[in-house]
């Protein structure tokens, strides 16, 4: 027998080259079931189920009941998943064990929930757990027992959760492609259901602007209550399924390969066509969306601007700045001071005259923040910048500086942006302004990333000592990172001030800094498309879906913890970053690839 190059402890068996497959671990299913049960109890006790029940999704199914149902489905899926196939082991055959795992997990979730339901039906815990209202179990609509009495409800919970767990486990019996199809379809139906106000507005807007007959589609898809109609759901599901199947056909070349095979001239034409199409859509978008949705996009756009700036500081240069809101505030206040006739300066300039001063002030504040932290280590940097953020807010709020900054009363009557005689007063017009600025910021970001200073930043991010040894001027790099980030945030602040028309110090708290940080982390550091997506999802959606407002930070926190463990490079990562963070896995894959190519001994 030849030497094994793979560190497998057991000797190779006689019946073949592979060891028996590792099966679904039922103890793991038990553990998952218990965790699932606790999660379900948590979302019931903190009022999420009740709050989400206000939103009808499909017929009588509300977001709240979906939440309750999602837990056993999720744990069932995870429990039924076979363990990853290690080299040397056979692939497990999908079968009863997957379903059993799912069932077990679902059953345990149901059991924990049943205990909880019994508890709150018997005792009044409302004095301690404020959101455990009678509507959960005792009175209609009895959300946790789906409308039934206690006895019947308990049975329902147990059976329903077990069945759902089993169903989720069954998904593992499907081939990868069909399993993914199920997820895609479910996601689309859910998205269309939840984004009802957005979809309706877009369809109606398209009809209003382009005279394309799309508004009746809105009536077809949705019922007056805001939920999806059954027909509409079926239509969306079918469409999503068909598209998914078409896109994942066997033997279909991926998009990139297809694009690279297109000849040069056609590619240029294609690029122009795509750009023209995008411009057309963007030009019409605010009119189609209406003032409120344009406003939502504007808010997301301002955060995007800030995220691009913080991206430079944290993502590219590796300086963890938690006080980013200070630069935002400086930009807003300078704009307000210079453009409002009511401010202490009272000069009432136009926006464009104030812009150079905004840039200058932001740069100076970047310098002021950056200089003391030059020699500080990464973690200290974070806390000190956080301190600076708070100092900025407190100074703008203070009575001491009230003669200049207005104190608690802020500065009002900030002038709108004017382009010649045209005033940008409503959200739709403002959208174009923000879009231009975002485009500019994106260009600047890319330019900086690919320049010498960008490379200096990345070198500094990786290892400061080595970078310095290689000749990078760390002082200049750090200061320029802070200044660049500050200038972008300053722009964001200027736009914020003109949009709202007034600046109050209460708007510039640490939550803003943290939100921007979350956006770039979840979106993908040093990755512009990721940041764009994240800012629309994390900032735009809560504005759109008010039910989430109370639970926004709870969800942010859970999302951060989850993302850091599963996908720290963000949703749309820059490829380099993804490689860096999954270094070990990449190395292992490479090693496994080598040994498998080398062949069995």
């Amino acid at each position: 027998m030849a030497e094994p190059t793979v560190a497998v402890e057991a000797p190779v068996t006689a019946e073949g080259d592979l060891l028996p497959a590792r099966q679904v671990d039922l103890w793991r299913a038990v553990r998952l079931g218990l965790v699932g049960g606790l999660t379900a109890v948590f979302v019931s006790a903190n009022g999420m189920v009740e709050a989400f029940s206000e939103r009808a999704l499909l017929g009588r199914v509300t977001l709240g009941s979906l939440l309750l149902v999602a837990v056993p489905l999720l744990v069932g899926y995870l429990a039924g998943r076979p363990p990853p196939v290690l080299q040397g082991f056979a692939t497990p055959r999908p079968g009863r064990r997957n379903i059993a795992g799912g069932l077990l997990a679902g059953l345990l979730t149901g059991a924990v929930m049943a205990v909880f339901v019994t508890l709150i039906a018997t005792f009044d815990v409302r004095r301690v757990l404020l959101n455990v209202t009678p509507q959960l179990v005792r009175e209609d609509p009895r959300l946790l027992t789906f409308g039934l009495d206690l006895g019947a409800g308990l049975v329902l919970i147990l059976t329903l959760d077990a069945v759902l767990g089993a169903v989720a486990g069954t998904l593992h019996l499907l081939r990868e492609r069909w399993r993914r199809a199920v997820f895609v379809v479910a996601l689309w139906v859910l998205a269309v259901a939840m984004l009802q106000p957005f979809v309706v507005q877009v369809l109606r807007g398209i009809q209003a602007e382009l005279r394309i007959w799309t508004a009746p589609l809105a009536d077809f898809l949705y019922e007056p209550s805001g939920a999806l109609s059954v027909l509409g759901a079926v239509a969306v599901a079918a469409a999503a399924f068909v598209v998914h199947v078409l896109l994942t056909r066997e033997g279909r070349r991926p998009l990139r390969a297809r694009l690279s095979s297109v000849p040069d001239r056609s590619r240029r034409l294609l690029r122009l066509a795509v750009l023209a199409g995008l411009l057309f859509v963007l030009g019409l978008l605010p009119q189609v969306l209406g003032p409120f949705l344009s406003e939502v996009l504007n808010i997301a756009g301002i955060f995007l601007l800030m995220a691009l700036g913080l991206n430079l500081v944290v993502g590219v240069a590796g300086l963890l700045d938690l006080g980013y809101v200070a630069f935002f505030a400086v930009g807003a206040y300078v704009t307000a001071l210079l453009t409002s006739p009511q401010s202490s300066l009272g000069v009432g300039w136009i926006f464009w005259a104030a812009v150079p001063f905004v840039v200058a002030a932001a740069a100076v504040s970047g310098l002021v923040v950056g200089t003391p932290v030059l020699r500080m280590r990464g973690d200290y940097l974070a806390i000190v910048t956080l301190g600076f953020g708070e100092i900025a807010r407190l100074l703008f709020l203070s009575d001491w500086l009230k003669p200049t900054f207005g104190g608690a009363q802020g500065i009002i009557r900030v002038r709108d942006i004017t382009i010649g005689p045209i005033q940008i007063a409503d959200p739709q017009a403002f959208f174009y302004a923000i879009f231009c600025f975002v485009l500019l910021a994106t260009y600047v970001t890319y330019a900086l990333q690919d320049s010498r200073i960008g490379r200096a930043w990345m070198a500094m991010r990786e290892d400061e000592a080595v970078a310095e040894a290689m000749g990078v001027n760390i002082v200049a790099a750090k200061l320029s990172a802070f200044i660049a980030g500050a200038m972008l945030a300053g722009f964001g602040g200027a736009l914020f001030a003109t949009k709202i028309g007034s600046v109050f110090p209460h708007s510039f708290n640490v939550i803003v800094s943290i939100t921007v940080l979350v956006v770039i982390i979840v979106g993908g550091m040093a990755s512009v498309p990721g940041v764009v997506l994240a800012s629309f999802v994390l900032v735009g959606l809560p504005e759109l879906l008010r039910e989430f407002e109370e639970y926004r930070f709870l969800i942010y926190g859970a999302l951060l913890i989850f993302m850091m463990q599963q996908r720290p490079e963000g949703f749309i990562p820059s490829r380099r970053r993804a490689q860096e963070l999954h270094e070990e896995e990449v190395a292992q894959d490479a090693w496994l690839g080598e040994t498998s190519r080398a062949g069995p001994p």
Binding site: G410, L439, F504
Partner: protein, 421 residues
């Protein structure tokens, strides 16, 4: 991802921007000719829509909820109908912040059928909302904004944020400052006062108004200082305050900072006498007055209305909502809604088929012309800047005999009404 290399892109988008900004919404048609601000045409059987912007979430949720209920009661009292059209109200959250005012304002402005708005809860949210509505000629009446910067200084000078079309049935804080200062100077005989605010625009405005009036009456403000929201240790601040040996300490702030002040003040001999402590309506809540150390404290706030109609109102409120009114401004929201209804009824043009036209300019003019309107909170008359309230400020005291918030509110020591010009 490739980067956009041409300047063509921003130029094209800029051109589109000009195009987009120049696109104006279409005018209302019909045989009825609207004024320069446009008009709302309500088709037969269509509802008359009201916007409501209040703080319904977060720390100030009780303020907003209270007022939403006031509005709903006003609608119910009209039988849910106005001019034979059902009345529909759309509630938006102002988050007690400028951003909330902007978003809510934009959401309501998107609907051209909105006749008027009852809002906002907080003065900070009112500033941008007022501007958005003024641009479209939509009237807004607030039941709880009290900041002087929204209307005028009551001496005939227009204030910084004042806009056409904004009204309020709540008092101007200059009046409350005068009331508190008059009580302190004349009734308590205080010569030296100290004020503490917490960085909120409402409390800072009120503390300053008190200070200005107190000085006008002849007293001195020994120390005007501030704390920050979230502070827990008030002892250093109280040391400074105690060192000036004030006769009265006016701190019109909110809980929990006020809790800390009132408990920690006991450790200072100069401040141990609770009768030196003076708060405002932000502290007239049942969680505050039950604190033992607040016994003896004074509070200023809008006078609780009296009379049979108010008792009726409270009864209906309790029946519909399962609890007594929470804050001090529910009646003001009720009056605001009724004032709006009265004005709508006055200017509406009805056609034979039931269509109703409401001209926005005429509606605004009718509201400005409101004189002697009988509401729960008094006789409302609107001045040129939008202050419509019949301001009556009660100074009440919390004593060991008062056990509930109602009783405290009823223990009126002094009522202040400014001389009407």
């Amino acid at each position: 991802m490739k980067r956009p290399t041409s300047l063509l892109v921003p130029a094209l988008v800029g051109a589109l921007a000009l195009l987009g900004a120049a696109c104006a919404p279409e005018e209302e048609g019909g045989g009825f000719t609207p004024g320069q601000l446009g008009a709302v045409t309500v088709a037969p059987d269509a509802p008359i829509k009201l916007g409501v912007i209040q703080a319904i979430s977060g720390d100030t949720a009780s303020l907003g909820q209270d007022q939403v209920r006031g509005v709903e009661l006003a609608i119910a009292d009209k039988g849910g109908k106005l001019l034979d059209h059902p009345v529909q109200h759309q509630v938006e959250d102002d988050l007690c912040k400028a951003e909330g005012g902007t978003t809510s304002g934009q959401k309501l402005v998107a609907d051209p059928q909105i006749v008027g708005v009852i809002g906002t809860s907080c003065s900070g949210a009112a500033v941008p909302a007022m501007e958005i509505f003024a641009g479209k000629g939509i009237t807004m009446i607030s039941g709880s904004n009290t900041s002087p910067t929204l209307t005028s200084d009551l001496k005939g000078n227009k204030a910084a944020a004042s806009q056409k079309g904004y009204f309020r049935t709540a008092h101007n804080d200059i009046v409350q400052g005068q009331a508190a200062a008059t009580f302190a100077f004349q009734k308590l005989g205080a010569k030296k006062a100290a004020t503490i605010h917490d960085g909120d625009p409402y409390t800072e405005g009120l503390a300053n108004a008190f200070g200005a009036s107190f000085k006008e009456l002849g007293g001195t403000v020994a120390l005007a200082t501030a704390i920050s929201k979230g502070d827990t240790d008030m002892r250093p601040v109280l040391t400074e305050v105690a060192a000036t040996k004030p006769d009265v300490v006016f701190f019109p702030i909110f809980q929990p900072e006020a809790d800390f002040i009132v408990k920690q003040a006991k450790d200072f001999p100069a401040l141990a006498d609770t009768k030196k402590l003076f708060g405002a309506d932000g502290l007239l809540s049942d969680t505050y007055i039950v604190i033992k150390q607040t016994e003896g404290m004074y509070f200023s706030g809008p006078a609780t209305p009296t009379g049979a109609s108010y008792q009726d109102f409270v009864g209906k409120y309790e029946q519909k909502n399962g609890e007594k009114p929470i804050q001090a401004f529910h009646a003001h929201a009720y009056d605001a809604t009724n004032m709006l209804f009265a004005a709508i009824e006055k200017v509406a043009v009805r056609e034979n088929d039931g269509t109703v036209h409401i001209d926005r300019q005429k509606l605004m003019d009718a509201l400005y012309a409101t004189k002697g309107f009988q509401g729960l909170t008094g006789t409302l008359s609107c001045d040129e800047f939008g202050d419509c309230a019949d301001p009556k400020i009660d100074i009440v005291q919390n004593t060991p005999t008062e056990k509930s918030l109602d009783q405290v509110r009823g223990n009126v020591l002094f009522t202040f009404e400014p001389e009407t010009s």
